[in-house]
Subunit: 301 residues, 2 copies
């Protein structure tokens, strides 16, 4: 089933204890699409400026990623992010950010994308997320990400968005902030009370928790990775595999959501093993399935 | 099979966002024994001063806890700890500590305890842990806890201890510090290289990771508890149920260790639901088994 993603394309400079990657390809829509493409066809929406050094058609050459929704704005500049990680690398420190094209009007949803049945709205201003969603036909399973600055400064827009989506995928600190509750489980329940039927809370290397409005729960540890070079894109890869699995099977029952979380966990563990997209471009679906089997074995008792 | 524990008995004052518990019963040996007593008989070693307001014989009245090794030192004062927790309560802040009897000579191991086959050395100076261990016959499965101050200031003693024990049970930050490695999995492997056959790394509400020298691994999330009032004693309860399960079945193979970790996780989740020992004294083995079933269901995919 058709999966649509709207998010950023970035020129990233990332510094970790394992090295520096300068002006490499990044952005939420890019990581998401690469991860999702192991599972299903992806409809991509995003914008770059004239300065973008990456040919996304080449990047996604062997994958079923439709770039009809990619806008190249000749008068604009591409989004740039410079960040670093220290120690256990659980938190990104933003060293520099240039919003550029992200500060402009959001891209238009192509007509041929409007019947998409699975939609992921990567992190951006919730008003823009609402605006994008309004362009799409009703009846899709919609998941969204958000972050602290929107919770702190645009809570009304965010609450409006939450009433329109089916699933919020959010970091643990942001979940606590949004719910104003330090207990993650009661925080998840409070978030469900704001609208979405499913709340997925990401805990970095410690895995994730998922709660549904029907009272179902699922907890999964992170994959015990002994090689972590660059956590950039882990959350978007997680979301990409999660939504990709659901779209592939065209299901959103809780058993399928659990399986999707497991795939998200595994694919993110490949992302963080190397800089930029290298961890994802160097594997195939078989590697993912094998690691899923390993994760199942590692968590069974 | 006989399980011996040596650790502290404390007069605790604990402050959390959910209230204050003044001069309540605490201490590693107390939490450990209460948790372990759901599984097997416990041989208790510890010391209190003349000021101890608690009658441990009464505390453990309905449980198979042998108090032959409890020393009441009439010239001494009982260990006291005052601590507080804030926000997500992931870290205890020590407001005041009076070592008192803990700063004296360690208790003597009673002759009738010396054939114990499962031994837990709760956190204390590693030199004392070695001294206690030397009093016991060889051939037991020995687990120990430690903490940052011993890693920082008594690393040689600790390294000597690590060569004598089978299992180290340690917090994630301490594991990283001990191994001087921010990756938890490679840190665990480095710790295994220091002596123990098994390393159990506790991650608070995020569960635990276990690695063996044979290359086996197990990861388990924390129980998704929606009621956390006081995390004090969680780690010692975890260790108590872990060792209690192993001693009950007299097994230390990896499958049994996994089951033991799951029981530790579940029992700790009861401990933190209330102040002092109330979370543990208000349940029975059936409650524990039921929650173990729930945890298994919550983690299966």
């Amino acid at each position: 089933m058709s999966l649509l993603v709207t998010g950023s394309i970035g020129i990233d400079t990332v510094k970790t204890p394992f090295g520096v990657s300068e002006n490499c390809l990044g952005g939420s829509a890019v990581y998401f699409s690469m991860a999702a493409s192991f599972f299903c066809a992806v409809r991509f929406i995003g914008a770059v400026g004239a300065d973008c050094p990456f040919d996304l058609a080449e990047v996604f050459a062997d994958r079923d990623v439709d770039l009809t929704g990619l806008e190249v704005r000749t008068q604009s500049k591409t989004f740039r992010w410079a960040g670093s990680y220290q120690g256990a690398m659980n938190e990104a420190i933003t060293d520099k950010v240039e919003l550029n094209v992200l500060a402009e009007e959001p891209p238009t949803v192509p007509d041929e994308y409007k019947d998409s049945k699975f939609i992921f709205l990567a992190n951006t201003a919730p008003a823009l997320q609402c605006q994008l969603l309004e362009q799409i036909e009703a009846g899709a399973f919609v998941a969204a990400d958000t972050m602290n600055c929107w919770i702190q400064n645009h809570i009304d827009d965010l609450k409006r968005l939450l009433k329109k989506i089916d699933c919020l995928i959010i970091n643990e600190d942001e979940a606590r902030m949004l719910a104003n509750d330090s207990n993650l489980i009661t925080a998840a329940k409070a978030i469900l009370g704001m609208g979405p039927a499913v709340a997925v809370i990401k805990k970095g290397e410690s895995g994730s928790v998922m709660c549904s409005a029907d009272g179902e729960q699922f907890v999964l540890p992170g994959f015990p990775a002994d090689e972590v070079k660059d956590p950039t894109g882990a959350g978007d890869s997680f979301a990409g595999a999660f939504m990709g699995y659901l779209a592939q099977h065209s299901r959103t029952d809780f058993e399928s959501l659990k399986q999707a979380i497991a795939y998200g966990t595994v694919v993110a563990s490949f992302t963080i093993a190397d800089f930029s997209l290298t961890g994802l471009t160097s594997i195939n679906k078989n590697d993912i399935d094998n690691r899923l089997g390993t994760l199942r074995k590692l968590t069974r008792f």
